[in-house]
């Protein structure tokens, strides 16, 4: 006797967290049942496989119906179809939008297009995240991206409002949107040592220091785009490396301040000019979309790797960046101190975050 139709509907919608997780991970009903069986549920509850199947199917149907609402979480709060206590609603949304960092890392800086979606098979194989789950997460990224693309104001806050995400998760999404928007290259081999968290932190400092919103919250441009005028202005900083006097003075200021304080003083003295050129030029190139892509590659190639080969410690780098950033204040004829500090604040934060093995 087979059950053709088998439903259970509660006035308060039942949510089983374990089944929700299995569903989010993209398991089929059969797989989910198998996993629940492995979890020893059968013995604990003294029930039968048929019951477990029926239960799993019920939950899956509920989740499928809920999915439409989860795409616009504020609707989940307003809808009348499912009566779900607020804390459960929050849990549903949070879990739905939670993502695998490995997957996000793979997708950082890629265009969230159909083409990318087609490549998800490989990504899935590389990251070990189920393909269905990959697609769902990709769709989440894309949905969030589309929703906030045109919005003004701080990205993270916009995301938090539109998708009712907890602040930390909203910040991560902001980073994803930021990367997708600016299309930074993150896939190169020499960048592989960087985790999603590293990039997200970088994105957050860049937005915090560089974006329009950082200066004027009611800015006209969306937060995900770096303000053009700012990028344009960064060219002015080149004077620090093109003007030989300035470069020399800068070097002497920094070196005198750091003498005896860092372990790699000699290496610093030897490499200062190269480092300074790299640091300034990275910013100067940001006006060209093509060069923007290389931002992280440049930082790693021209700053992090040389430092690492010279065995800098993170403390050394921090001290150096501090003084390197502060020194131009005392440079005669350098008029861009505010711009410089704004620029270097994000660069320093990024470098410090990225400086690890």
């Amino acid at each position: 006797m087979s059950s053709d139709l088998d439903v259970f509907v509660g006035n308060t919608t039942l949510i089983d967290e374990e089944v929700y997780r299995l569903w989010l991970d993209g398991h089929s009903v059969a797989e989910a049942v198998a996993r629940r069986l492995r979890g020893g549920l059968l013995e604990r509850e003294a029930t039968s496989v048929a019951v477990l199947q029926s239960d799993t199917r019920d939950h899956y149907r509920t989740f499928q119906m809920l999915e439409r609402l989860l795409h616009a979480p504020p609707r989940l709060l307003q809808q009348l179809l499912f009566q779900i206590p607020p804390e459960r609603q929050a849990l549903l949304v949070q879990r739905y939008y939670a993502f695998d960092e490995a997957l996000a890392r793979e997708l950082l800086g890629k265009k969230l297009s159909k083409g990318t979606k087609k490549e998800l098979d490989e990504v899935s194989a590389r990251t070990g995240v189920g393909i269905r789950s990959c697609r769902r997460q990709f769709d989440n990224f894309k949905r969030v991206f589309k929703a906030v693309e045109e919005l003004r104001g701080p990205l993270a806050e916009n995301i938090q409002q539109l998708f009712l995400l907890p602040p930390s998760l909203a910040r991560d999404y902001a980073a994803i949107v930021f990367f997708a928007n600016s299309r930074f290259e993150t896939g190169k081999r020499r960048l592989q040592f960087l985790s999603f968290g590293d990039f997200a932190a970088c994105a957050q400092s860049m937005m915090a220091h560089w974006s329009q919103g950082a200066l004027a919250p009611e800015a006209a441009e969306p937060d995900g785009d770096l303000p053009k005028s700012f990028l344009q202005d960064l060219k002015e900083l080149k004077v620090l490396v093109t003007d030989k006097d300035l470069l020399d003075q800068h070097k002497s200021l920094v070196c005198s301040a750091l003498r005896g304080k860092i372990s790699v003083y000699n290496e610093l003295e030897a490499n200062f000019k190269a480092l300074s050129r790299a640091l300034v030029n990275v910013g100067g190139k940001l006006t060209h979309a093509r060069d923007v892509r290389d931002f992280f590659v440049d930082l790693v190639e021209k700053v992090i790797e040389p430092c690492r080969s010279d065995k800098w410690s993170p403390g050394d780098l921090r001290l150096f960046l501090q003084h390197y950033t502060a020194a131009p204040r005392n440079l005669p004829g350098f008029r861009h101190q505010a711009l410089w500090e704004r620029y270097m604040a994000a660069i320093s934060a990024c470098l410090l975050r990225m400086f690890h093995d």
Partner: protein, 1134 residues
């Protein structure tokens, strides 16, 4: 023009995209009531339109207000083609028609489409200005309150319980009309929804009229059902119990609401009273001596079905001379024997308890309606009598009672749809009475009729009935037959009333099984103020002079009618211990209607009790129970040959007796297997399919302390010489014994080792003894006899003579007890658990299974069916495991056989959590407590003789209806009055507080939580207001079944949608819960080949406002919040 309906369309949200090009919608709204339609402006290009319309005003009479639903259609404007309908909202405005219910309907309603389901929401505000209409010939019954709850609603007090009301209306089913061939299924389903909405409105109005005629103001236990008879039409029928209710908390506040129709209603009786003085003229004067015909005068009966208000009061109709005479208020009680009802019941009762097939054409010539005519007259008259009795108290109360007794004995159907009663109402319970009858549905002989698809007014069913008058009469007559049978069964049990009464049908093709069941009972006459029951009681006594409820004998009976004040009767009745009194047999010991082992009551040892007791009611609050209860089901399948028409009906009716017998045996065995001795809430459902019949009986088993300990089950083999067989038998026997032992442990059934505890209990109070000197001596004999019978208690013997019996025994043992932490019952409350915590989860589960056997036999089918039910229960336990410890209450199974090999089971129940720690302690408490109550409460019971409130706790403080019985007692005293006033104060505060709180949640646009429960109460909460009945009917269809997730996906979504719509309506009424929720119908049909499916669901319940008890306690220090309770609600919600 007695009413003005005002509607405002505020806004919409989350509308579907109707224009693919722009991904937007140009929405506007049509608001229709009766014949009038208004439209809002088109709100272009938005999925969240803000119409903010003017107030649309409909000026209508109140009859229309009652019948018609408000119909709101949301459409997408299209310049070039026809406007597309997005969906509809039907709003029943009935709750706005009574003064105490909702004042405004305002909120977000899901926009529903039969194909697409819910498509966005619309915010609507509805108000009604009702003008007073004192026209006594009016057709409307505005102001009569309806409750699905089968007990006296929590915040009301019953002044009088009048009795049974019923009505049915018939129409052609739009789905089976010729026009259905050319219109879309969607149009047809919408027509059906609209029609049923209209028919239920009309039905409710007609029932309301009957209630007004009986001088009542409310219907309790209202149950409305649809019979989808297919080709032969659509029957909407309803039954209920008419009552006069008084609001408890603010009786005084109730009166100032002057324009309330309910007040007006109260006055009418006295105005209309033809000559009230006759009543005082003494017993020897027959008040009226009218003659009525029982000859089948069709014209007359049609008139009565069209419910003329003046029907019962103006005897202008049918003064035809032949036929038996009926005297109203006959002075001599002997007349009751001549009553045509008795004759009729003889006619109808065919001796056996199972009714053979009635021929497809109505056999008894007696027309039901003409009978009910006299009944109405009687009731009306007695209602007046009660009025005067209540006013004057005095000596003619007795007089009137004597007068009315025999007349009311003739009351057509002394039935009560209630299942829970005020303490003391139920005197004795006889047992379950049921009747079934198989009918053939006839085609409607009027193919020319097409009126339905025209404009709405052509829905007026009365017009239609008038030229198709056979139809409702047939159905009426069918039900009348069944009810007569029930009544005579009850009589055979020595009972004058039937409580917990319900009716149901099962239809397959053209065959229909009508079923009715209830519990025969003897009621306490004082609760039927007009003396209705007293007469019957005495009637009973005079039949059986040797037996009286307290064991007194004939002398006392004789003494009775002469006693000046019947309160002496009351006193005696009351003296029977409340914890066991209802178990005492009402029938004659020497002349028992069925074989039963009688013993003396284990509680009071005064009266005889049966060894088991089956009832359809809830466990009385005062009952003394040992241990916990459990859900017991009997499940049965019977194959039947496919046949046509008459042959089919015959074979079905031949099978029915066997099914009834088997179901009964199964129940009995399972009851014994659990070591219990009584069933409550018994509901036997027999479902007819093409090639089989299914029987499913559900009940809650308990161990009543008053009844004897059940003996075990003993297996006896027929072939004693076979050694292995013997061994097998003994093995089985051991298993059974083990199961019984295990169950006793599980349900904590350890009845007190008799004598000391109970004998030592203070139950036989001195007062009782002094009154019943004679029975005292008897009772001493009884004690000895009792012990003997206890010793020789014999086991129930199961004979195993063939494999079938073997199977039966096996199947007995397959019932798996619920996992630990779970209990289940199908009654309101779980016997033995009384420490509920507020968490509840109401749910509906539906399963359809295919019986895949190629050559099914009864055994395999039984097994399949059994497994299906057991698995379903198992899966419920698993689903709800996070709520443990909890109890599934009001578990309601419904079986349908939609197709050849398909079985559909729908379950609705509520899981309630309870506090385990307290539960452990409370094990013994109930017994002790109730025994204690029995002793201490005795005084108090005397103090509050007329208290009918169903809530025993809150009932105590209120003084018993001063206006009803002033001379009731000097004991009532000051403390009670004081307490009463303090509570009167508290309750309005509660409402105000609640409203105050609910306001912010409304403006925040977060959805307010609406609880749903099939029970009449919410644990840990107090219901402060009843907002009106919710009665909704939905059809959903799909032509893309696979895309919607198959049958399960389709139905899952639909049930969720139904819940959502119920919640939205309740929230819009200002409520936060639905109690007594029931899914009365769930008809699912599929055609997987065409990728299509369709489902009809009918639900009902009472919308209420509740306040958490914890919040109530906080209330008093917050008078500011409640400062303007009434003003605030209306203003803020608009």
């Amino acid at each position: 023009m007695p009413g003005k309906l005002k509607v405002k369309i505020v806004a919409g949200r989350h509308l579907p995209v109707m224009d693919r090009a722009s991904d937007l919608t140009d929405a506007f709204v049509e608001v229709k009531f009766g014949n009038t339609t208004f439209k809002t402006d088109v709100y272009p290009k938005s999925l969240n339109p803000q119409w903010n319309s003017e107030w649309f005003k409909f000026e209508v009479d109140d009859e229309e207000l009652q019948d018609e639903p408000l119909q709101i259609t949301v459409l997408d404007h299209d310049t070039y083609s026809a406007n597309d309908a997005i969906g509809k909202v039907y709003i029943d405005i009935d709750p706005l028609l009574y003064s105490e219910a909702a004042t405004v309907i305002s909120g977000w309603f899901p926009i529903y489409d039969t194909i697409h389901g819910i498509r966005g929401e619309i915010n609507v505000v509805v108000k009604v200005d009702l003008f007073n209409d004192l026209n006594r010939f009016r057709q409307s019954s505005c102001g009569v309150k309806f409750f699905c709850t089968t007990s006296i609603p929590k915040c009301y007090r019953a002044v009088v319980i009048h009795g049974f009301v019923e009505e049915l209306v018939v129409n052609e089913d739009p789905e089976y009309q010729w026009i259905d061939r050319i219109r879309t299924p969607r149009a047809s389903n919408e027509a059906r929804q609209r029609l049923i909405s209209l028919m239920s409105g009309e039905l409710q109005r007609k029932i309301g009229l009957k209630v007004l005629e009986m001088r009542g103001n409310a219907v309790v236990g209202y149950l409305q059902c649809f019979d989808l008879e297919g080709e032969s039409g659509l029957v909407v029928r309803a039954i209920g119990t008419a009552c006069t209710l008084d609001k408890l908390s603010n009786t005084s506040a109730f009166l100032p609401a002057c324009n309330s129709p309910s007040k007006e209603m109260k006055e009418i009786p006295f105005n209309e009273d033809p000559n009230p003085n006759t009543y005082s003229s003494g017993p020897s004067t027959p008040l009226k001596n009218q003659t009525y015909s029982f000859s089948p005068s069709k014209s007359y009966s049609r008139q009565s079905s069209s419910s003329d208000t003046d029907l019962s009061l103006t005897p202008k109709t049918a003064p035809s001379p032949q036929g038996p005479r009926i005297f109203l208020f006959p002075s001599s009680p002997t007349l009751s024997c001549d009553s045509p009802h008795l004759k009729k019941s003889c006619l109808l009762l065919s001796g056996s308890s199972i009714k053979p097939l009635h021929s497809s054409h109505v056999s008894p010539v007696v027309l039901r309606k003409s009978v009910s005519f006299t009944e109405e007259l009687l009731l009306a008259a007695s209602g007046m009598g009660s009025g005067s009795a209540g006013k004057e108290g005095g000596p003619f109360k007795t007089l009137l009672r004597q007068q009315t007794q025999s007349a009311l004995e003739q009351r057509e159907f002394p039935f009560f749809t209630l299942t829970t009663f005020p303490p003391g109402f139920l005197v004795h319970v006889g047992g379950v009475v049921s009747a079934r009858s198989v009918k053939l549905l006839d085609r409607i002989h009027n193919p020319a009729f097409v009126g339905i698809m025209g404009n709405t007014r052509s829905y007026k069913l009365l017009d239609w009935n008038s030229f198709n008058s056979d139809e409702p009469e047939t159905r009426d007559a069918w039900w009348a037959e069944i009810r007569q049978e029930i009544k005579s069964h009850a009589k055979a049990l020595g009972c004058h009333a039937v409580v917990g009464y319900s009716e149901s049908t099962s239809i397959c093709e053209e065959v229909c099984i009508l079923s009715a069941s209830g519990t025969a009972a003897v009621l306490n006459p004082r609760f039927l103020q007009d003396g209705t029951m007293e007469g019957c009681l005495e009637q009973r006594l005079s039949w059986q002079p040797g037996f009286f409820s307290i064991g007194s004998e004939k002398g006392e009976v004789d003494f009775f009618p002469q006693s000046q004040d019947s309160s002496s009767l009351l006193g005696i009745e009351e003296a029977s211990p409340p914890g066991c009194g209802f178990c005492h047999i009402p029938y004659d010991e020497l002349n028992m209607p069925f074989p039963a082992h009688l013993t003396y009551c284990y509680n009071c040892r005064k009266q005889k009790v049966p060894d088991v007791l089956f009832t359809t009611i809830d466990l009385p609050v005062e009952a003394i129970v040992v241990g916990k209860g459990c859900l017991i089901q009997a499940r049965l399948c019977r194959l039947k040959k496919k046949a046509q028409a008459e042959a089919n009906a015959t074979s079905i009716s031949n099978l029915l007796p066997f099914m009834e017998y088997e179901v009964h045996t199964q129940l009995m065995n399972k009851l014994k297997l659990r070591g219990m001795n009584a069933l409550f809430g018994l509901r036997i459902q027999i479902t007819v399919g093409e090639n089989m019949l299914m029987g499913l009986a559900s009940a809650t088993g308990v161990y009543l302390a008053a009844l004897p300990t059940p003996g075990g089950i003993q297996i006896a083999g027929k072939t004693p010489n076979d050694g292995t067989y013997e061994q097998h038998i003994s093995h089985m026997q051991k298993k059974i014994n083990d199961t019984i032992a295990k169950n006793k442990e599980l349900y904590e059934i350890n009845p007190p080792e008799l004598p000391e505890e109970i004998i030592g209990s203070p139950i036989p109070e001195p007062r009782q003894r002094s009154r019943l000197l004679r029975s005292q001596s008897e009772s001493s004999d009884e004690v000895t006899e009792l012990d003997l019978s206890h010793g020789k208690k014999d086991a129930f013997v199961l004979e195993i003579d063939d494999t079938d019996a073997m199977e039966d025994v096996h199947s007995l043992l397959t019932d798996v007890p619920p996992p630990s932490g779970f209990y289940s019952c199908n009654t309101e409350i779980m016997p033995g658990i009384n420490n509920w915590t507020p968490e509840i989860q109401m749910f509906t589960a539906v399963r359809v299974s295919r019986l895949s056997n190629i050559n099914p036999t009864n055994q395999t089918l039984n097994k399949n069916f059994n497994d299906l039910c057991e698995n379903l229960l198992k899966s419920l336990y698993f689903k709800l495991r996070s709520m443990v410890p909890c109890c599934l209450c009001h578990v309601n199974f419904t079986v349908a056989l939609p197709e050849d090999e398909l079985v559909q089971i729908a379950v609705t129940a509520v899981a309630i959590t309870y506090d385990k720690n307290q539960a452990l302690q409370a094990n013994k408490a109930p017994t002790e407590k109730s025994q204690q109550r029995a002793s201490t409460d005795n005084e108090e019971q005397l103090q509050f003789p007329l208290e009918l409130c169903s809530d025993p706790l809150s009932s105590q403080p209120f003084s018993p209806a001063k206006e009803v019985l002033e001379g009731a007692s000097s004991h009532t005293g000051i403390p009670a009055a004081q307490r009463a006033t303090s509570l009167e104060k508290a309750s309005p505060l509660a409402e105000g507080y609640l409203r105050h709180r609910s306001v912010p949640s409304g403006t925040n646009s977060t959805v307010s939580v609406v609880k749903m429960t099939p029970l009449s109460f919410l644990p840990g909460a107090k219901i402060t207001k009843y907002l009106g009945i919710i009665n909704m009917f939905f059809i959903r269809e799909t032509t893309s079944l696979r895309e919607e997730g198959g049958v399960s996906g389709f139905l899952h979504a639909f049930i969720a949608e139904v819940f959502a719509m119920v919640r939205a309506h309740v929230a819009a009424l200002g409520g936060n819960a639905v109690v007594s929720y029931i899914m009365k119908q769930c008809v699912f049909m599929e055609n997987p080949n065409k990728n299509q499916a369709q489902c009809l669901i009918n639900v009902s319940g009472d919308a209420v406002v509740f306040v958490r008890e914890s919040e109530l306690e906080v209330l008093p220090p917050q008078p500011a919040a409640a400062a303007q309770p009434t003003g605030a609600a209306g203003d803020v919600t608009t």
